[in-house]
Structure formats: C-alpha cells, structure tokens
Amino acid sequence: MSKKQIPEVDIVVDEKAGVIREVKQATRSKSGHERRVNTSIYIILVIMSIIWLAPFVFLVFQSFRSYKLESGGMVDYLLPKNGWSLDNYRFLFEGSNFFPWWGTTLLIAALCAAVLTLATVMIKRLGSENRHMKTLLTVLALVVGYGLFIALMVRLLGLAVSAEIAGKLVLSALLLLIAGYIVARFYLKQDSRLLRSIPGYEKEKTSDVVKKVIALFAEFAVIFAILACILKPMTASQYLNWYGNTLTVALFTAVIQTVIVLSVSYALSRLRFRGRKLIMNVVLVLGMFPGFLTMITLYFLLKQLGLTQSGAIPGMILIYCASSGMGYYISKGFFDTIPKSLDESARIDGATRFQVFLKIIMPLAKPIVIYTILMAFMAPWGDYVFASYIAFGSEPNFNVAVGLYRWVNVNDYQGYFTRFCAGGVLVALPITALFLALQKYYVEGVTGGAVKG
C-alpha cells in the first residue's frame, strides 16, 4: 500500500528490528494541508460574519443621520454627511414628559436590583445556623429596597397625590411586596430534601450574581410595566407608548404562556389518561390550518368582549395565550427524557402528582422553562399581523412592530426612514442582549426539539 492512500497516517518502520515502531498522525506536509484548509475556513467565516453583521451596522449608522438637517428618507449613502446626530432618537422621546421617568426609573430599578442582589448574596453567605436572622435580614432588605424604589418613583414623578393615584400606588406597592416575597423565596429556599435524595441531581450553584441581577431587573420591569399601565402617559410620537404596550404584552404573555405550555406538555408527557391520544391528534390536525385563517373570527370574538382597538393590549395577551397550549411539542420532548423512575419513587414516598410536578420535575426542567419564557417573551415583539388587525386604527394601542412598519411602508410617512432605524435599534438592543444572555437555553430547546421531532 502506497503512502498516498493513507493520507493522515504516517508509519515509521524501524529497519533494524523490522517492525512498525510508531504510527503517528500528520507529518509536516500534512499539517501544511491542514493549515490551508483552516485558513480558507477562517476566510469564509470572516466573510460570512461581515455579511451577517453588515445590515445591523448599517442600521445603526443610518439611525444617526439627522432627519432635520439632512434627510430622513432613504438615501444611497451610508454615513451621515452633516455629522452624526441624535435627532432621530430625540424624536422618539419628543414631546413627552415620559422620558424623564422612564429613563430614570429604569436606572433606579437597576440600582435597587443591584442593592437587593448584593444583600441577598451577603445574607446567603451567613450560613445555615442563624436562619431566623437570615429571614429577618431578607425581609428588611426587601422592605428597604422596594421602599426606596417606590419613594424615588413617587418623588421623581412629582405626583400630586390624589386619592385615586394613592390607591393605585398602594395597590402596586402590594403587588411589589408579593412579587418580592416570591423572589425572596426563590432565592433563599433551600433545595428540598426530596430533591437532594435523587441520585444524579446536581444542586444548582447559585453564585451566579449576574443571573440574579437579570431576574431582579426583570421583576422591576414588571412592576414598572404595571405602573406604566396604571399611569398611562401620552406622548407626542407615540413611540414610547408602543414600546410600553409591547413590553406589557410580552411580559404577561411570557408568564401565562409558560404556565400553559408547561402544564399541557407535562400532562401529555408524564400522565396517562383517557383521551390523551385524541387530544394530541386533534392538536396536530388543528395545527395544519394556517393561523391567519381565523383572524376575522378572532377579531369579532374579541370585539364582542370589548378587547379591540382601545382594549387591544389585553386582547393581544388573550390571543397569544389562548391557543399557546398547541405549542407543547418541544417541552414535551424534554419531559419525555426525564426518567420515569423519579416520579415513581416520589409517588411511593407519598407525594401527590401535583407535588411531583412542582417539586421534582420543575426544578429539573429549568432549561426548558427558560427556553419557553424566552420564546414567549420574544414573539410579541415581532408580531405584526394580529397586532395590526386587533389594534386597527387606534394608534396609542399599536405595538412597536405595527408602528414602525407604518413608518417605512405607508406613504404618509415619507422621511421617517431614519426614525424607523432609530426605533429599530432601541427595540433590537434589549431583545438581543436578553437573547444572547440566554443563548445556551435557546440552543438546548432548539436542538432538543429538532431531534425529537
């Protein structure tokens, strides 16, 4: 056998002993070939990266071209000629007294979140012997943190405290406390004994401060969205309204849809009951009909309930969540891979099915929970069709997709192109950051779903 036919193996023969001494890979000429291959791969990857990122970079560039001094429409050059300006961004917030407290609230929320996170981390370090102390400190930290938040909010809003607004604030404070309690439980709860007894269950390392900041920050964002709903501000360019609408819809959808999807997929995966196959087949058949077919019917159904135009936001939440049970496939696939013996041993120990679901499967299903939340949260940001149909003609109730689509594709809005770019950048930034932060879970969900079909 000549050497060419065994390209990557080099055989060194010891002449004296007459035996093969060494079989080693890749001689010098071989590694040269390897290097060439790698270089060409690098070149391809760099070109691809440029193609992939270019539109986004262009988008950012064009968003800095002033629509006042230069041209707000589409032009055939990329970089602004009259210098970089923030006019487009300014326009988005123009005429609103909304920005000061939107911006500052987020800053304050970030601050409070950081303080709280630090506090919880410190409290956790205390060790398990002084548990009462820990609880006390947690409650204290929560009260201080949320108190700070509310106080600053009220101060900065400069609210003349009428009875109505005071009532609303008390309500939101209550919501805050409940949310805070849940968060505290979530962070400080010891893993249950049952869980630790399961072989192979790894106790989750909770040293990841960044993750907690994100979670807490999200919580403040929820509260902020609630406040924003209650105190509904009007803005001149409506952009912030759209943004707030989308955020509200996305947050509610994320929560409700996740609960629904997880319940359905858990029931179909782990429980055996009459009609299970029937449900799966019916969902399969219903899923083959195109979604837009039902648009008119849904519109009239919602109209009957008063959930169109001015009630479009709850309407959208309802639409996104009502049928979300049909998207159970990926998480069912995940539940299918968790060994059944876990359930059985817990059942023998006397746990009810509900307890099994909550205490055993849910902690193990963390990746898929996060995946579901991520998907449910991201979907409303991109939905144009239903949102435009439901909110038809009622501009304050658009979501960002509908509003921005009109800025580029409706002729009345000539010269809004750069403002679309600016608005798009502001939408894309937080979503992209969130996505990249949780990328790992997304990959897990997508690959799992593809493999299991």
Binding site: W52, I260, M288, L298, S323, A450
Partner: protein, 498 residues
Amino acid sequence: MTDLEYLKLSKPAKLIFRIHQFFKNLPGMAWNGLKGLGLAIARLFGGLGKSVADLVTTFKDGDWKTRLSYLIMGFGSAARGQWGRGLLFFLFQTVFNVYMFMPNAAFSGCYYLGKLSTLGTVETYKEGRRTVYGDNSFFILLYGVLTIFFILAFIYTWRLNVKQNRISEQILKSGHRLKSTRDDVKSLADEQFHKTLLALPTLGVLIFTALPILFMILVAFTNFDSTHQPPGKLFTWVGWDNFHTLLSTDTASYGNTFSQVLLWTLIWAFFATFLNYFLGMLVAIMINKKGIKLKKMWRTILVMTIAIPQFVSLLYVSKMFAADGLINGALMRWGWISSPLPFWTDPHWARVTIIVINVWIGIPYLMLIATGILMNIPADLYESARIDGANAFQMYQKITLPYMLFVTGPYLLTSFTGNINNFNVIFLLSGGKPLSLELSGNAGYTDLLITWLYKMTVNDTNYKLAAVMGILVFVVTAVINLIVYNMIPSVKNEEDFQ
C-alpha cells in the same frame, strides 16, 4: 421483489422503487382508510346503541334519586352526599337552559340554531334616517356553531350524570363509601391532575382555535365577502361555488393564479428548507472543525439574525435592496451598473432575492441544530474511516449526512410545512410584489398561499375565498405530511426514548 433483490439495487433505484411502491399501495391504503372509517362509524353507532340500552336499564333498575336525575341533573349525586358534583351538574344544566331558551327569544341558542339553515332572512333596511337592523348572518353562523358545540357538550354531560348515578348505586350496594367532595377536590391534585392541568388550555384552544377554524370552514361554503357584509347585508350558503371559483381555469376564475402561487409556494418551501439545511450543516461543520478557534464568537455572530426581531432586520434589508436603497446606490456610484437592479420589481429577481435573504435568516437555526447533532456522532466512526483512507467529502457523504438525515428527518418535514406557511419573510421583504395583470385576485409573483390569504382577508375582505384557501393550505400540508411520514422508515414510537 425479495429483500435481497431490494438491497442489491442502487440508491436512486431504491428510491424509485419506494415511490413506486407507495403509489401502488395507495389504493390499498385508501381502502384501508375507508374500512377504518366504516369500522369507526359502526363502532360509534354500536356505542350509541349501547349507551341507549344502558340508559334504559339504569332507569329501570335505578331508585327514585337516579330517575329524578334524568330530569334534574346532579340530583342523584347531591342526594347521595356528593353535593360538589351535584352542584356542578346542576349549574351546567341551568346555564345550558338559560342559554338555549332565554326569555328574550331574539338571542337564545334556539334562535341561532333555527336560522342556521338560511343564515338569516330579515334584511337590514333604512326607515327614514333610522337604520333597522335585521338578521346578522355572521353571528348566526358563529353562535350557531357554538350552540352545536354546547348541545354536544350537554348531551355528553347528561350521559355522564346518568352514568354517575349507576356507578354510585353499585358502590353503595357493595357496601363501600362514596367519594366526598373533599376527596374530589383532593384528587384534582393527584389522580385527576391532568384535568387540572388541561382544563384551561383546552378551553382556550376550543374557543380561540377550534371554533374559529370550524367557522371558517363553513364560511368557505357561503358568499361572505365585501358585497355581503353584515350587519348591512346578509350572506347565505352557496355550496361548492367558491371552490369552483378558486380552482377552475375560466377567465373569470382564479385557477391559473392559484396554480402559479401554489407552484411558487412549493418551490420556495423546497429551497427555504433544503438550501438552509445543507448550507447550515456546512457552516456547522466548518465551525466545529478541530483547530478552528473562537467557535463561540462565530456562532454568536451568526445567531444575531435570530436574536433581532424580524420586523426590524427584514424590513431594513428589504429597504437595502430597494431601487433607491443602499446596494443599488453603491453599485451605481461605483459605476458598476447604470440603472438600479430590479431586486423587487422583476419576478425572477424578486424570487431569487427572497430565497437568498432567507438563507441569511435561516442558516443560524440549522447551524445550531446541526452543531448539537454533530457532536453526538461517535468520533471513532471518523477515526476508522480516516484509517481506511476516506477523504473529507467521503466521510461527510457516508457518515455525517446519513446520520443527520436520520436524526433530523421529522424536523425537515416540520420545517418544510413551516416554510409553506412562512408569512413573515415574504410579507416583510416583498409584500408579495411585484404585482401583475396576469395574476388575478391581487396576487403578486412572490405571494405564497398564506400571504395571498392574508391579502384576501385584510385588503379585499374576500372572506369566502380566504376560507377556501385556508382549507386548501390545510390539504397541501396534510398530504405532504401523509406522504412523507409513509416514506420515512423511522416513524418513531413515542415511548422509545423514555
């Protein structure tokens, strides 16, 4: 042909044989399907007969509590101490009765049911300046369907109520204790946990998906369009006319346009699926190759197109390729072309542009999926192949590709049907344009069935044809699913991977 002969065939011959076999088996399959349907119907009637017989015997053998339950639902349960169940049954019956026979006869279930056959006869008319509203066909149809749902649910519940009595009687006779309401509530977290989990989602799907779909299927058989729009006008049943309008090739019909749009839809779905599949796999292989550094960075860069909401990225890209957009502008400034390239105005250019841009959107998904699977391929397979002297392409052809295809077979199918319904890419990029006089019904050269459906609903308010189109999309999807599932050898057993 024996198995041995089959194995001797070459790859294409095998495929041809398989397809041939499929079509040869088609009549058999159809016959089996019919037989299955017949059996199911027979079983249904058998079950019905049994039910009726059971009802009679229950009535004959039962005590007075049971007999009264035939009239007042839940009475038996309540009288035997299961007041929770009894109350629920009774509540359901009350709601049903109120809905069906509301004192205000104009809006009861019976009213809608009675009008369902004509969809309303009283026209809306003007009396001086005042508009007097007649029947509203839309609500008659919608609530008529809802009423039928409700009646079926009622019959089922009533039957359940009777059965409950019989079972209770038997349990009491054998000297056991009946479940109390407390037990019932408790069992909702345990034996009956699936009911707790599924109740709300099922209700949501029934009202917001199943009911609208059924409604639209029925609309396909009416003349509900812009000239028959309630509440001003009535619409009525027209039978198969709409299917005829959409499918026949008369000059006034949409048949030619439909076949063109369908063809493009299939071509699009084919390219969108397979081009992305192979290119994505290629990219994944390149990134995963040993010795390539910064793997995570390359992946993150590509994944950006998934992360950024499509309405931002696709709208921007579509404007980039427009006649007065960046790309044409740059090319003209550099003097490479004298007039803008017709990216969105020429049918062929538009179609190719869309497919290419979709690669930009689609590769990252496939890259992520392929990365996960590629890592699972045992490394010793490649090792031994290398020792046997295989080159990179042979290894790809003999190891990577079969493995990928086997594992992602079902995914390819869902992705193909998903692309048939891929609304966003077409709508945001071209909006179906370029339009043409050769196509009827406002369709453009890049319209998919689904975007055409959208246009019909929103722009033309031609609901009847939109409904027909929806049904046809369903048929296309279902047929493709059926064929492919019969061709894929590994129709997976659900319990396999548990």
